[in-house]
Symmetry: C2
Subunit: 349 residues, 2 copies
DNA sequence: ATTAGCACTCTTTATCATCGAGTGCTAATC
DNA sequence: GATTAGCACTCGATGATAAAGAGTGCTAAT
């Protein structure tokens, strides 16, 4: 469909446009890229490419601009041809920085977002681990003082969640231990969903004497479980968007930044693609949400054990430096997976 | 220094400018505000006011614009005269919304920021509680499995912090209990600072047999304590700034939004003022940081018990609707104090 | 099939005149 | 003596017009 020369011309145009953000004319191509043909020939090729939907003209006397379709072609080839080598020195540097700065998982995610946006100079997105499948490893009720009890949940993936609650009656240490043991016995190893179901089934009739207390604790556990696998998302370098002339328009900038302020939307966007695969790229109009239909989104995943549990990504204008961003994200994908392994241990799955 | 009529003129100009964001001319004042004098008189008064530093002229043939000094006067009078009544119906509404949406403290803070920016349509800032003075109520080591121990710290203010750590050796449940008890006995009731000092003093020579384990745990406690009183800050409604014509300039908007992205700076800004007092207002050039020298910042505090532990605020153009914002913030100050009291109990201080 | 050449299109930029809001001064008025 | 009407003047905003420049697309020559 596209002969070799057309491809070369298209590539040249894309490259030029990615760098300059200005419509590319035939003369630019014939002079700066060594295709050995005159600008008139390029003009004809460009005309063809436009007809095929790979190029757009902002107006009659402007140069051409690559269409989303062109980027799609470009990116697909990029991903196919490319030798997946990784700059190991850079990788280790980043890893070190991340480890030193991030004691907690949320910190790790936030810092990753920060570094990614810093080195790519686009806006970065990072999602905290999603651990829906995670199983309960330990549950414990701890008396803090006469009137307060602390509920502690630990998941196999090492996430801890606790909730304080108050009681009026006096509950003895023994009673608490009994309940702790009972709950541990019953719920340990279950996934969040299973626990929810078990709770709904009212499996706790066995413990008549402590029913009052249990009735108070169950909803707390339920709520805590919910909280535990609640994902969060961070955007960093949002103002980087101002660096791109396509966002010199206030309304555009506003709409982009507003979008980045809405965490729910961002989660949707990140989860929109599957949770599988290496690098995923969504180009311009391929995006579902209006405000980012002129953006490209590149995401990758990170894992814990065999399970993909989160995503990080970069978002910017469609004329993004795909290659550079892909490489950067690969670095982070590997690093975060390794660091999480370290932080959370290596649970069986 | 300012006679009554000058004051009235100044007020009229400020009011007009707050609404319209456009330089105010003498004719506007004489027509729309009922001062009973002609525009020529107003012109003379304006000329005087300019000389006194209360008004500025963007250029010869524009109207006048209030200076920071004018806003300062305006605001000081506002705060003095104003009858501090609170719309109790609105207050209860907000309180209800906050309580329903916010199970955790961080959520409460975030939601507050969200609601504040929604109802004021400015950018809101909210700082999480600062509990430096908070004392340790409980410390416990909990075995999760053979190789993992959970360290739990509970402060008197009810904040819980935990850290998982791994051990190679087997440590018996008994040993852990011993250590837990020992630490509780030694550290309970101490403030963070005191604990740090106690730790530094190496007070733990008493426990020879368990020294290995203690040496591992101490730094973890130390780190956790640090984390516990780390403040966080949220900004919401940042893109509201686009609603104001003074930020139609891309560079301005960018600089503002970039500033709001930097949490460290925001903390500085919020803590910059004292932690005391009811409402604090910083106008334009009174701000230390360049990017917000054309903004006004209104903050108030919230408390736990007798102690001021956090701040919330609103930031926007100097021609802010001070009155409305002040009232809104008062509502939140009271509400958050009440809700925190509920959530965290009422510790003695 | 390629290319030189040229007319044509459309944006960008600069220039200039005009308009109007607003000031500041002066002289008349209360 | 304070107020005000009147008017010349200032200066940004608006819009029209022209010139420049970049690029296309067609035609005819190679």
């Amino acid at each position: 469909m596209l002969d070799d020369r057309k491809l070369k011309v298209l590539h040249a145009i894309i490259n030029s446009y990615i760098i300059k953000a200005e419509p590319v004319g035939s003369r630019t191509i014939s002079k700066q890229y060594d295709l050995g043909v005159s600008s008139a020939t390029i003009r004809n090729e460009m005309s063809d490419l436009e007809e095929l939907g790979y190029l757009n003209k902002p107006h009659t006397s402007a140069g051409r601009v690559p269409s989303d379709k062109a980027y799609r072609l470009y990116v697909d080839q990029l991903l196919k041809l490319e030798k997946r080598k990784m700059d190991m020195k850079k990788k280790e540097m980043i890893k070190k920085a991340l480890i030193e700065e991030s004691q907690e998982i949320d910190e790790l995610i936030r810092n990753s977002a920060k570094i990614i946006s810093a080195i790519t100079s686009y806006t970065s997105l990072a999602m905290s681990p999603q651990l829906k499948e995670s199983r309960l490893k330990h549950i414990q009720l701890l008396p803090i003082d006469e009137a307060e009890i602390l509920v502690i949940l630990v998941s196999e993936s090492g996430i801890v969640k606790n909730t304080m609650f108050k009681v009026e009656e006096n509950i003895s240490q023994d009673q608490l231990s009994t309940i702790s043991n009972f709950l541990n016995h019953k719920l340990k190893g279950m996934s969040m969903d299973e626990i929810d179901r078990t709770i709904d089934d009212g499996l706790f009739k066995e413990m008549y004497e402590l029913k009052n207390i249990l009735d108070r604790i169950i909803p707390i556990i339920s709520k805590s479980l919910e909280d535990m696998d609640e994902v969060d998302v961070y955007a960093d370098g949002v103002t980087n968007i101002f660096n791109f002339p396509e966002y010199a328009d206030l309304d555009r900038a506003r709409s982009f930044i507003s979008f980045m302020e809405d965490k729910d939307l961002l989660i949707e966007v990140l989860l929109g693609d599957t949770l599988e695969g290496d690098i995923e790229i969504t180009i311009g109009s391929e995006n579902i949400y209006e405000p980012i239909k002129d953006c490209s989104l590149i995401t990758t995943t990170y894992r814990l054990g065999d399970m993909t549990i989160g995503k990080i990504g970069v978002i910017g204008p469609t004329r993004m430096e795909y290659f550079r961003v892909i490489n950067a994200l690969r670095l982070f994908s590997v690093n975060m997976t390794e660091i999480l392994d370290m932080l959370l241990g290596n649970p069986r799955v």
